[in-house]
Amino acid sequence: MLSRFVARRFAAAVALAFGVVLVAFLLTNLVPGDPAAANLGQRAIEDPDAVAAFRRQYGLDQPLPVQFGRYLTNLLTGDLGRSQQTNRPVRTDLAEFGPASAELALTATAISLVLGIGLGTLAAVRRDGPIDQALRVVSLGGVSVPLFWLALIALYLLSFRLSLFPGAGRLGPGAPRPPSVTGMYTVDAALAGDWATFRSALGHVLLPAMVLAAYTIGLLTRFTRSSVLEVLGNDYVRAAHAKGLPVRLVVRRHVMRAALVPIITVVGTAFASLLAGTVLVEQIFSWPGIGSYAYRSATTLDLPAIMGVSLFVALVYIFVNFVVDVLYGVIDPRIRAS
């Protein structure tokens, strides 16, 4: 039963990944513009030999179906090709930029989970009171503020003028990187017990993560509020109160557990939207992540990188959805059963 479920899941994931790669491939080939022109530079592009060499190197001299077939065959061996802009294997790029974005997005998710669920629950419990009204305005503000604008203001005010946070980048200039385990500097530094680096990495990730979280905090606050309100109206919450349980226990065990199921769906979707938001925020904070990599690949028609990023994002999406589904099961026994 379970293995059949996993197998079906896996087949769907493979199909989806294939679709994403195919679409990425078609899109980038339909787009006018020549990767050679974009990547070779003004001079070499005038040299037919150089162009031919470039095309051969990236297999662009082959017919499209052959190119795609070759890409897929290489994919099976884990080879994602070579990025034209960084001139490194795409896998190396993804291994570096992926964790950087993950660190940012996970920190933002953590911040939005704590604040969003906390504030949302508070708003629900204090329903219609002044706190609720204020939180409503704040959370709607969070989903309304243009992130790129907020990022600029945050960078200017909090980092530059008030010096509460360090500036752009992942670590201080020239600081040694922690030994790579996960690729997330905070985690790696903590694993290595290097607390100075940890503090620095955390300091750097905090501001962009907070900016990035503005939207999801707003989203989660609103959503948690309505979700908790819905649960609060349930008989079983009244029943829990009738049992004389302390309010904290009622909220934590009875209310949150039920409210969490819909919230998790939103967190999953929000995580995906965070990845999209990283494009803007990473640009402004000079954060070397998937977002800016995607932007650069797309503007330079870096075909292998575009396909690599698309595949990566799709896999993250699939993984997040899988985690969400598993969490459903953990939280709700009725889902586990079916």
Binding site: G33, T86, R88, R161, P166, G174
Partner: protein
């Protein structure tokens, strides 16, 4: 209820209120307050800013010769340089971008070089001396005998021949520098470069960091080759991205095309050792560079737009260097009637040439910017005098537009996502649009990401284009590409045969060896271009280097932006 951690949201709320407050508040607040908060050199808050307090202890022992600079405050030990990266590789033979050049100069020495910012006269570097034959087809170089690579091996003629031939055969962006040129090691200390055609510009080409000299044995061991098929057979790039193989003042400590590339002083450097032991070259968006240098998070920033400099100039802790960049910004009107009946009409060229408000456009390029009277920038041989620049003549332009039937509409394409010297193409295009509107030409802007814009540009399909040209080497020969049949000329639909008179001058100058004879020919070339050509040179923008004063003296270098080795000297 569970407690809510109060700090983070508070910070956000405070940020917003402060932001709103700032917007509603003081008029010139932005400028003055910023200066105020910067005057203290104490770095701010975080442990990441290079803190004088902590660096003091180490700095005193490792950088003893700093004392003579007289700059205020202790000099930082590590030089942090912000650059918006266009870095592709650390292989000198393959790099041809601004950032790669900065890195290349630091890691690799060339046969000849330019002293300070004087790019008119190449001087010996790895070569102790050189001679050229009369028709500039054969150049003989004698190498210094005191140069060693990092692995202890001495520089030999084979290294030079290998490096230069490899560049030619790699078929990379910079390969054209060695087009038709072969290098041969005659003995251990003598190299001969033979050119198929007279190449008087070769000595000015050789300082190009693409032609940096590699340790041939080491590179061969790691997959390098200078054979004909190097474009595919050479696999040394990966190695060269992890470890440098040159004789330069710095060695590669860490190479990264997206975050930071770190250079460390070469302990065995044959010349005067660099002032700074370590240079961190960071990839930072131009927008944040101004903040970084003001808050002492960076020592030097390289991409500030002219518009950002005004405020920084008044900051006593900053040293603002402004020069006219040798890059030229130019417009062209396509001469190919298949692309446009309008732009290919000589009357249209006349209308544009006299309709453009050059001063209004120049205003955008910064205080250090200059108009470029011809296509050759002012620092190079053959540049025209200012008085020869076309002057705006609205009547003449309007008359030309009327001859075209009045009310003409053309499209102007430019790369929308490309920035050079902190200057975007958008505002310049907008100003071109506004000034041409005044003489009756409607310009529709069609910006495109550089990847797609380059494609139409290269295919010669743009009606009008706004682009820039960065010199490949400081010699006017580099600008013949703008003539009819040249690579830029072709992009403007101006093939060979379009202007026989001009092409005759171009041919003549290409084979002339003596600079004294070349100069008037290049001037003639430009005068004819200004009269009948399809190119409209606009300006050389301000190039800026902004450094903290405690860094020591800093210079803008017209050929490679900044010479890291010379910083602080």
């Amino acid at each position: 209820m569970r407690g809510i951690p109060p700090k983070a949201p508070l910070a956000l709320i405070i940020a917003l209120t402060v932001a709103l407050g700032a917007c509603g508040g003081g008029e010139e607040g932005g400028t003055d307050e910023a200066v105020e908060s910067d005057t203290g050199t104490t770095p701010t808050g975080d442990d990441d800013a290079p803190s004088p307090a902590t660096e003091d202890a180490d700095g005193a022992t490792t950088a003893p010769e700093e004392a003579d600079t007289g700059a205020a405050g202790p000099r930082p030990e590590t030089l942090v340089v912000d650059k918006s990266f266009d870095l592709a590789t650390a292989d000198p033979g393959r790099q041809f971008e601004v950032t790669g050049t900065i890195v290349g100069v630091a890691l690799y020495d060339t046969l000849l070089t330019f002293e300070d910012a004087d790019v008119s006269t190449p001087v010996p570097h790895l070569a102790e001396s050189f001679e050229a034959n009369d028709d500039a087809t054969e150049f003989t170089f004698t190498l210094r005998d005191d140069v060693v690579f990092a692995d202890g091996s001495a520089l030999e003629a084979d290294d030079v021949a290998f490096s230069l031939n490899r560049v030619r055969n790699l078929k990379g962006n910079g390969s054209f520098l060695m087009d038709g040129v072969t290098a041969e090691a005659v003995d251990e200390r003598t190299v001969v470069l033979r050119a198929e055609q007279p190449t008087p510009q070769l000595p000015r080409i050789l300082p190009n960091p693409t032609l940096g000299i590699l340790n041939a044995d080491l590179v061969r061991e790691n997959g390098g080759t200078d054979a004909e098929d190097a474009a595919e057979a050479d696999t040394a790039e990966e190695f060269l991205n992890t470890q440098s193989a040159g004789t330069g003042p710095y060695v590669l400590e860490q190479f990264d095309t997206t975050t930071e590339t770190i250079l460390a002083a070469n302990p065995d450097y044959w010349g005067e050792p660099p002032v700074y032991d370590r240079v961190v070259l960071r990839n930072v968006e131009a927008a944040t560079q101004a903040l970084n240098v003001q808050s002492a998070q960076s020592s030097i920033v390289l991409d500030l737009a002219a518009d950002q400099l005004g405020q920084l100039r008044g900051d006593p802790s900053l040293d603002v260097v402004e020069e006219a960049s040798p890059n030229i910004w130019f417009l062209f009107a396509n001469a190919n009637p298949e692309i446009s009946d309008v732009t290919s009409n000589p009357d249209f060229r006349e209308a544009v040439r006299y309709g453009l408000d050059y001063d209004a456009i120049l205003e955008l390029a910064g205080d250090g910017a200059v108009r470029v009277p011809g296509i050759i920038p002012n620092v190079f041989l053959g540049a025209l005098g200012e008085q020869e620049a076309p002057q705006r003549d609205v009547d003449r332009a309007t008359a030309a537009v009327e001859r075209l039937g009045g009310d003409v509409t053309v499209e102007l394409e430019y790369p929308s996502d490309f920035t050079a010297n902190g200057l975007n193409f958008g505002p310049v295009a907008e100003r071109v649009q506004a000034t041409l509107a005044e003489v009756g030409i409607t310009v529709e802007l069609t910006p495109a990401p550089i990847a797609t814009a380059l494609e139409t540009y290269r295919a010669g399909e743009e009606q009008m284009g706004l682009w820039l040209w960065a010199p490949d080497y400081p010699d006017p020969a580099d600008y013949l590409v703008f003539g009819a049949g040249g690579i830029v000329g072709l992009r403007a639909g101006w093939p060979a045969g379009s202007d026989p008179e001009l092409e005759a001058v171009m041919e003549e100058v290409a084979t002339t060896v003596d600079d004294a004879e070349r100069e008037p020919l290049f001037e003639e070339f430009q005068r004819q271009m200004n009269e009948r050509g399809v190119m409209f040179p606009l300006f050389q923008p301000t190039a800026s280097v902004v450094a903290r004063t405690d860094v020591g003296p800093v210079q803008f270098h017209p050929a490679w932006t900044i010479d890291l080795e010379a910083v602080g000297r």
